[in-house]
């Protein structure tokens, strides 16, 4: 319609507007376009303008309301985002600071630990070297008195000197055992294949007291090769064997039987056992004795440091041996335990991972 004033209100779109900045929508309301008539018909134009203003005012009111609502939502969202951002930033800062602090703490602790280890090493050196010297003197001078002055001493005096000498000897035994224990604690437990058969037979051969007719130690079959550490395993086996031949009822000759039992199949049979053993071939080595046995109530005490089940005057010992065994086996990722009945002997066992067969020990295959 030519010559007519065109009034168009830009209609709000059905879909949400492309997120205008809230401020912009306040200053520039939705435009209402008024085009004057070509002849300049004033009343018509004025009416059109008025109409347009009216529409625009109404719409503006409507739109402003909507904008305010939208605005509110956006502001809320923005402030929430800002909060999150601030929180994130502070969390990041905190993390960085904590990481730094942690690093410092680790460095400090490592340094302290290093010092402690050095102190401990100095300590065990001192124990080995300095503390045994006075013991040697105690034992030595008691011995000289017993040897050279026996005729001047009555039986009591000789008995007392004997006690001094044996106490010194016992103290020395304790010191040596503690040193053995700290050695197991300290040294690196690098696992390598160890031939248990050779190791056990060598250990048995070393001790005169463990030979017939003093004792019968039978090794049934051939013991396998295991993943272990020769020094640690020597400690384990000699401690287990010396216990086996020591704790006997009076008048009983020690009889020990050693054998290996393959636990790999048993481990594969149950899922839980497999999980525990990681499916690796496990071997259990048994040490069965004919000793006095261990009461159930002593089960938890027996592996503890310096714990002794039996009185010292009956059985010589320091209460360190089984603690060494347990610690050494732990460090070889193995297990140790026993079955026993008072008066019917004990069966101690250690469980270790089998070494790969000779052919498979090629490092590229490991």
């Amino acid at each position: 319609m030519k010559g007519q004033t065109q009034v168009k209100a830009a209609r709000p779109r059905a879909d949400p507007p492309p997120a205008p900045s809230p401020r912009a929508s306040k200053k520039h309301p939705v435009p209402v376009v008024v085009q004057p008539t070509q002849g300049g018909n004033f009343p018509r134009d004025a009416a059109a303008i008025n109409g347009a203003l009216l529409i625009s005012g109404l719409r503006q009111h409507e739109l402003t309301e909507e904008a305010v609502k939208l605005n509110g939502r956006l502001e809320k969202e923005i402030s929430e985002r800002k909060l999150v951002e601030v929180a994130l930033q502070s969390a990041n800062h905190q993390l960085a600071r904590q990481a730094g602090e942690l690093e410092q703490l680790v460095a400090k602790r490592t340094e302290t630990l290093r010092e402690t280890v050095a102190d401990l090493e100095g300590f065990s050196y001192s124990v080995a070297h300095d503390m045994r010297t006075p013991l040697r003197s105690m034992q030595g001078f008691a011995r000289i008195l017993l040897d050279s002055y026996a005729d001047k001493l009555d039986a009591d005096a000789q008995g007392y000197l004997g006690r001094i000498a044996s106490s010194a000897a016992r103290m020395d035994l304790l010191i040596q055992d503690v040193l053995n224990f700290t050695r197991v604690m300290r040294s690196d437990a690098l696992l390598s294949p160890v031939d248990l058969d050779v190791l056990v037979r060598d250990i048995v051969a070393t001790y005169p007291d463990w030979q017939a007719p003093n004792a019968t130690i039978e090794i049934a079959g051939k013991l396998p090769r295991v993943l272990g550490h020769e020094g640690f395993l020597t400690q384990c086996v000699s401690n287990l064997l010396s216990n086996a031949v020591k704790f006997l009822a009076p008048g009983v000759a020690p009889k020990v039987k050693i054998w290996a039992e393959d636990r790999s199949r048993a481990a594969a049979a149950t899922a839980t056992a497999k999980a525990v053993d990681g499916g690796e071939p496990v071997v259990r080595v048994w040490f069965e004795d004919n000793g006095i046995g261990i009461a159930e109530r002593d089960r938890s005490r027996i592996f503890r440091l310096f714990e002794r089940i039996n009185p010292t005057d009956q059985f010589e010992g320091t209460g360190v041996g089984l603690t060494i065994v347990r610690k050494a086996i732990q460090r070889l990722n193995g297990r140790v335990d026993f079955e026993s009945e008072v008066g019917r002997g004990s069966q101690f066992w250690i469980e270790l991972t089998k070494a790969p067969t000779e052919a498979a020990t090629d490092p590229t295959l490991l």
Partner: protein, 147 residues
């Protein structure tokens, strides 16, 4: 049997007494000079000060050397002995309380002839001293000392 002087380097008086006691019991009649610290042992071996006269203080047939000593420790003494041409062929036996692997390795690296750990029991110490006598003073032929 070689009857030259034995140099005993040991600072602890009780140990000195007990060692001399078993030396006697083992039938070792050699004169024994006791150096109470590492410095004195080195002065003796190098003929310094009161030890300048080799007539009264001859180079020993055997050095029994403790490791932990005042002023200069056993390792230092051993090292010096092996460095000097006039003493490098001396027979040095470490006689100590320490059975530490590190000490043993270090002593051999510095050239000790043997490493002996003092046993606790006097009877065992006597056995050890008898073995020293039989091997080092009776069976063994030492190197000629003159450079």
């Amino acid at each position: 049997m070689i009857d030259q002087t034995i140099l005993l380097v040991e600072d602890e008086p009780n140990s000195v007494f007990l060692l001399q006691h078993v030396l006697k019991r083992a039938g070792i009649a050699n004169p024994v000079y006791v150096a109470k610290d590492g410095r004195e042992a080195l002065d003796y071996l190098e003929g310094i000060g009161p030890f300048a006269d080799r007539g009264t203080h001859p180079l020993p047939a055997l050095v029994l050397l403790d490791l932990k000593l005042p002023r200069a420790d056993g390792f230092e003494v051993l090292e010096r002995i092996r460095k000097r041409p006039d003493t490098q062929k001396l027979i040095v036996l470490i006689l100590t309380s320490s059975a530490s692997d590190d000490d043993i390795a270090r002593a051999y690296a510095l050239g000790t002839n043997a490493y002996l750990v003092k046993p606790l029991r006097l009877e065992k110490l006597e056995e050890m001293v008898r073995a020293i006598k039989d091997f080092w003073l009776v069976q063994n032929h030492p190197a000629p000392l003159a450079p």
